[in-house]
């Protein structure tokens, strides 16, 4: 396969189109709220933008030039992720808690929201990143050049780099500034970066496998090649190694693009736990084949070949076009992912800290939210273009001559200048804004002079120093003639830290810094962070008005008067000192909660630094109060219900007691009445031996009659007691209703009633206890016989099918039961007429009601125009259900 430039360009375009798709899918996924793309794996893969084209191409070149020293670039981040996990966690926690948008933002926020710091860091980042972006353009251009035929368009590096820069600008603007995300996250870009991370890893591993097993024929031969190469002769210089490890470790935290993916794009603090081992593993995989490739390239390729391009030239020389294309795409991935994230991060910083403040200063007040958003997005887009243009210009200025690794290191050391301010700022509340600004400026200046100038300036300056001042020579400041890189690192960071600490100790933090510092230093202990109050300009009078609303007029006035006395002021209004405000806030907190109190006090003192967390805390407190009151309400409702239940139970018991007394009283009366007659006549019969036979017979008759009545009464009582206790045993059988009525009529004997029946309607099949049902019917028939007061008493038995069973009505032609008595008739001993007529204790209907209930039915008195009408409702087949009880 021969690779033409056109084919390569087409492959690039296709690859970029594929990335577009991935980014779109990522944004769609995020818009749907899926957390799939924000898992720890994607997070770790996105961190791999640490491995840029420098790593992809440059590491091999670095190894070819400096042996194992390239390892330091990997060791630094590895040590940070494994050993400084706690530091990263604090960084991420602060980033999320304070809604940090960039490395400039976190430093600005820490040092009292200082715009000076923000601009300084942004400037540093732009200057430090520009060479790095140029490096990516250079590497892509170089890799294109490898494939290009001499004399073609592609052989012009400057033109090619311009096209690459434009393409990257378009992609970045499309996905980096599509919308103004509140939390500055870019799901589409992160998804695309994760894919690119996989592509570059696979590409580099494939080349490694090809070199070791394809070109060299195995591990053993490869070992021989390495041993024979100049790499084996390199020895590690301890000082330089330590310096490089430190710088690369600092870079992984401080580089704007790394801060972007590490902190800003972090979706969950716990993802760090995965990244702490997965990211070093990724780095290990990326560097494992670097030495074999470098050694083999040095052995096989001609002496003038660029070692930075061995990953491309080795497969090409072997005629493996496809593999070379894969390697090319790997390098392309490395370059594009870095440029995209770096330009997004820089654009955020530029627009937030430089463009927007300028725009606001010139245009005055914000006119509207929509307007503002458009301005921010435009600023972002312009910034992205600006960053890429600068990278392109740097590329033109340096002529693409420097080796990739040295450009990368310049960037690293540049951004490492923010490390003292960042590191101390996170752990030392005494660090001040001025300290940070002077430290960064000092480091920035020394870095620029010792590392940036040598690349850009002419040889005279390097050799003689500015205006001939020898000790200021960029590569040998203060006479440090050792390793220029190590000197630059030590000088810039050393002076940076020294100045930072000295100035911090000499200056006092502003009130705003005092407020912000604990939020960072004590981020894991937010509750303990003092809220702090400035000596507010607001009058104590306003505070008093507010306090009166919360505490009540008298309590508030008393408190303010006491404060005024303590301050020795003649009036009743104290000065709103921080101490006084603190006490007021505590007092108010007792009523409205701490966060609300703080918000109210600061709202009046103009000291309002009410963050999202404060507002959330207010909401939390409100929710807690609501929850508490809801629980109180529930408890009180519970109490009311319990009390109600107790009262009900008591009423029931009382009623039961009254009922029992009344029942016993009734039973006593019903038993004693026949016994009285029996005893009286028994005594008469015994005392009067000479009673006439007729009288004697009559009295004996009375005794017998009363004895039978007594027996009947006891039978009724027993049967009622059995029924009520539910111990009755039913014997269900399949019967015809007519047969049961027949039995009842026969058993009732000669009642004197004329019975009116409808045999057709009575032909209803029932499953019930026929004996019990007959007992009910007998009772109703004999009742009618006893109480029906018509001259020619009649009883009509009517059967009608009802919804769930049948209804049997017993209707007589008497005068019926008075309305007031109808509810009483089913009660025990509810005898409505006089004793003689009834001849029973009045338990009949009570028994009927119990029996019918056991049979699954009911019995009611129905008022009607003619006579008494009792209705017995019966289910057709429910007798079993009740019998089973």
């Amino acid at each position: 396969m021969t690779l033409t430039f056109n084919l390569l360009a087409a492959a690039c375009l296709a690859y970029v189109a594929f990335l577009f798709l991935v980014a779109f899918a990522g944004e769609r996924q995020a818009a749907r709220g899926s957390g799939l793309l924000r898992g720890p794996v994607i997070y770790t893969l996105s961190l791999s933008i640490y491995c840029t084209a420098w790593t992809f191409y440059g590491a091999v070149g670095y190894a070819a030039r400096s042996g194992l020293e390239f390892m330091t670039i990997y060791l630094g981040p590895t040590l940070v992720f494994i050993g400084w996990w706690w530091f990263l966690r604090k960084l991420v926690r602060i980033g999320r808690a304070e809604r940090i948008t960039s490395i400039a933002d976190i430093l600005s926020s820490r040092y009292g929201k200082s715009n000076l710091i923000a601009v300084l860091v942004t400037l540093l980042a732009v200057v430090g990143t520009t060479p790095y972006i140029a490096l990516q353009l250079q590497s892509v251009t170089l890799s294109f050049g490898v494939f290009a035929a001499p004399g073609s368009d592609a052989s012009d590096p400057a033109g090619l780099a311009l096209w690459v820069a434009c393409g990257l600008a378009v992609f970045t603007i499309l996905f980096g500034t599509r919308n103004l995300d509140a939390n500055e996250r870019h799901d589409g870009i992160v998804a695309a970066i994760a894919v690119e991370a996989v592509v570059k890893l696979i590409a580099l591993m494939s080349i490694g496998v090809f070199v070791v097993w394809g070109l060299n024929g195995g591990l053993a031969r490869t070992g021989e090649v390495i041993a024979a190469s100049p790499l084996a002769d390199w020895t590690a210089v301890p000082g330089r190694w330590a310096g490089l490890i430190f710088v690369s470790g600092a870079a992984v935290i401080c580089l704007p693009r790394m801060f972007q993916v590490l902190v800003v794009e972090n979706a969950d603090e716990r993802h760090l736990a995965t990244a702490s081992w997965a990211f070093p593993s990724y780095l290990l995989a990326m560097c494992i084949f670097v030495v074999p490739i470098a050694a083999t390239g040095l052995a096989l390729m001609p002496g003038h070949a660029n070692p930075d391009l061995f990953v491309l030239t080795l497969p090409l020389a072997d005629g493996r076009g496809g593999l070379a294309l894969l390697a090319f795409l790997g390098g392309f991935s490395s370059a594009t992912s870095m440029v995209i994230v770096a330009s997004v991060a820089l654009a955020t910083m530029l627009s937030n800290h430089v463009v927007m403040p300028l725009w606001l200063a010139t245009r005055g007040r914000v006119t509207g939210a929509g307007d503002m958003r458009r301005v921010v997005l435009r600023a972002r887009r312009a910034s992205i273009l600006g960053v890429l243009v600068m990278g392109y210009l740097y590329f033109l200025a340096t002529g693409g001559t420097s080796s990739l690794a040295s450009i990368g290191l310049i960037s690293f050391v540049g951004m490492a200048q923010v490390l003292p301010a960042l590191g101390f700022g996170l752990f030392w509340t005494g660090a001040t804004r001025l300290g940070a600004a002077t430290g960064i400026l000092t480091g920035f200046a020394i870095w620029g002079w010792t590392m940036l100038v040598p690349v850009l300036a002419g040889p005279e300056l390097l050799a003689l120093g500015p205006a001939g001042v020898g000790w200021l020579r960029p590569e040998a400041m203060f006479g440090l003639t050792g390793d220029p890189l190590l000197s630059a690192v030590i000088l810039s960071l050393g002076f940076n830290t020294l100045v930072f600490c000295t100035v911090s100790l000499l200056t006092r933090p502003t009130p705003m810094e005092r407020l912000q510092a604990p939020r960072f230093v004590q981020v894991f202990d937010r509750a303990a962070a003092p809220r702090g109050h400035r000596r507010g300009t607001a009058g104590a009078a306003e505070l008093l008005v507010m306090a009166q609303r919360i505490l009540g007029a008298r309590a508030a006035q008393a408190m303010f008067a006491a404060e005024a006395r303590a301050q020795g002021r003649p009036s009743d209004l104290p000065e709103a000192t921080p101490d006084m405000l603190e006490r007021l806030e505590k007092r108010l907190a007792g009523s409205v909660g701490a966060a609300t109190a703080h918000a109210m006090v600061t709202g009046i003192t103009g000291d309002a630094v009410v963050s999202v967390e404060d507002l959330l805390a207010v909401a939390d407190e409100t929710a807690q109060i609501m929850d508490y009151s809801a629980r109180l309400e529930a408890q009180s409702a519970e109490l009311t219900r319990t009390a109600g239940e107790l009262r009900e139970a008591n009423d029931k018991l009382t009623a039961l007691g009254i009922q029992r007394d009344a029942f016993l009283s009734q039973v006593s009366h019903e038993l004693r009445t026949p016994m009285t007659s029996i005893r009286a006549f028994a005594e008469i019969l015994r005392a009067d031996g000479d009673l006439p036979a007729k009288e004697r017979a009559r009295y004996i008759g009375i005794i017998q009659e009363e004895s039978e009545r007594l027996t009947r009464l006891l039978d009724d009582l027993l049967s009622l007691s059995v029924l009520e206790s539910g111990q009755v045993v039913l014997h269900p059988a399949d019967v015809m209703l007519g047969q049961v009525i027949d039995r009842a009529v026969v058993a009732s004997g000669d009642t004197g009633l004329r019975l009116l029946r409808d045999p057709a309607a009575e032909a209803v099949a029932l499953r019930t206890d026929p004996d019990r049902l007959a007992q009910v019917f007998i009772n109703l028939i004999t009742n009618a016989a006893k109480y029906c007061d018509a001259a020619e008493p009649e009883l009509r038995i009517a059967v009608t099918p009802s919804r769930r069973g049948i209804a049997v009505d017993f209707i007589d032609n008497g005068s019926g039961i008075a309305a007031g008595d109808r509810t009483l008739i089913f009660e025990k001993f509810a005898r409505l007429t006089d004793q003689a007529a009834a001849g029973s204790a009045g338990l009949g209907l009570a028994i009927c009601r119990e029996v019918v209930a056991r049979l699954g039915g009911s019995i009611d008195y129905l008022p009607g125009p003619h006579g008494a009408r009792f209705r017995v409702r019966l289910p057709r087949r429910v007798a079993e259900a009740r019998a089973a009880e």
Binding site: E670, L671, R672, T676, S677, A680, I684
Partner: protein
């Protein structure tokens, strides 16, 4: 439902207010055998009128009466023209609170059914004793 008994001994008159027919028969027989003139009345509502009409020396009064209870009748007697009329109350309920209520209303004697015939006759005699003791037969 008033009814005059057949024999009229020279002794005192007893009005028996009792709705249970068999009990009334027994009591009337016992007292008549002792020489009392016994009238029986079986309804509560008209009992006071019967007292007015018969002018008895002693009243034997059942508590459970149709229409009006024995307590009401007793109250009527005590509030009316014969506040000193001896009244013997009979009850089948036999509860303490009934006895207390009867005494509070001014019952001269309170007896629980069933009673011994002898006891009833003695009680009636004691109650009538001050006014006109009946001649023994």
């Amino acid at each position: 439902m008033n009814r005059q008994t057949s024999s009229q001994p020279p002794g005192g008159r007893v009005l028996l207010i009792e709705d249970e027919q068999n009990i009334a028969t027994a009591i009337a027989f016992i007292l008549q055998r002792e020489g009392w003139r016994v009238s029986t009345h079986g309804d509560g509502t008209t009992a006071l009128a019967a007292v007015e009409r018969h002018r008895p020396d002693v009243v034997v009064l059942d508590v459970m009466l149709p229409g009006k209870s024995g307590f009401d009748v007793l109250g009527g007697i005590r509030a009316g023209a014969r506040p000193d009329l001896p009244v013997l109350m009979l009850t089948a309920k036999g509860q303490t609170k009934d006895r207390e209520r009867a005494e509070a209303l001014g019952a001269s004697r309170f007896m629980t059914k069933p009673f011994s015939n002898r006891e009833l006759v003695d009680a009636v005699r004691v109650l009538a004793g001050s006014a006109a003791p009946p001649d023994p037969v």
